[in-house]
Amino acid sequence: MRMIATIATLALSLGTAAATWAADKADNNSKPVTSAEITGSVPAQINVSNANVFNRLLKKDKERNSAPPTDGIHDADNEGTHQLQPPKVAYEGFPTTEFGNYIDWVKSLNGGNINPRYDREDPSVEPIVMDLDILREVKASMPDVIFPHKPHTQWLHCSNCHPKIFKPQRGSNQINMSQILLGQKCGVCHGKVSFPITTKSCTKCHSKPKPAEWKPPLSDASVKNPWR
């Protein structure tokens, strides 16, 4: 019994060694030749400390819209997983964005790429759409926020937001970015299901540019600073 286990382990380690060797070889072949290597004056490889690599904290998707069997949360050993539709297939021809599902749901809906039902059974029921924009002035240098009721009421019911998330009265709700990032207010949906909060999506909400003469207010500490 022990013998068999030993042999199996050995076979595995041999396999690892072979794979590592093959990978090393492939690496060497694909590496561009530097001038230092040609003249041979400097060591060919400089080993930078692992603590100081680029992108220490940057998380990036290796692949966009990956298929369920390779996405890391679906179990590839489960047969049902292989019946699921890969998102890329369904998104064929949809207008794209740089974040979230990497497609623009508002444009897909208005452009007729999709026609989701507003009623569970009856495809002919039309949504009750309300076209009312709410302007929220932002204290900071970011463009002001316009909350458009139209794209929201195309998808949602008034009761999804009123009164639990927002009191239906202009300016009566305290909203700031930290709440949104914590998953409150607009963050109940944005950053979870509707488009996320990333550098490339800020201007979707912050869409009304500040007047040219606008300057950020100075902090007290700066106003009182005797050396200013």
Partner: protein, 137 residues
């Protein structure tokens, strides 16, 4: 000799464990309040797939799904009774519940979550606005 065997084994085990970082579709929900404990794979609910077919209102207003991953305490008894997923996965609007592996498709042990959310992807927890802090005190 043994040393190499152990190195090899460690190498293989770590290769298997580290293999794929999760990068599932944005807004996929993993629901695992009870599934693991009952010996079933966790449920993966694909938002993208359903919102192509239904507006949010259908599930989150008409069918009463709360906006909280794992917050609806869904069980098979409720589904068979026509609640939650069972309002559609009943063999009429969509395929019915005997297709266990279509819903129970998650990697065992995955925690309840909304995948790819901004909060999950932050490098550090978000700041607390000074005005909020003052209020709390």
């Amino acid at each position: 000799m043994w040393r190499y065997a152990i190195f090899g084994l460690v190498g293989w085990v770590s290769a298997l464990l580290i293999s794929i970082p999760a990068q599932a579709e944005y807004a996929d929900v993993v629901i695992n309040n009870y599934a693991d404990a009952a010996g079933m794979r966790p449920v993966v609910f694909p938002h993208w797939y359903h919102r192509v077919r239904f507006r949010c209102k259908v599930c989150h207003a008409d069918l009463g799904f709360q906006f909280k991953a794992g917050g609806n305490k869904i069980t098979m008894a409720k589904i068979v009774d026509g609640q939650f997923c069972g309002a559609c996965h009943n063999g009429e609007i969509s395929w019915s519940v005997e297709n266990c592996g279509m819903c129970h498709s998650g990697v065992p042990g995955t925690a309840t979550q909304i995948h790819g959310s901004t909060v999950q992807r932050l490098v550090a927890p978000t700041y607390e606005a000074l005005s909020d802090k003052k209020k709390a005190q």
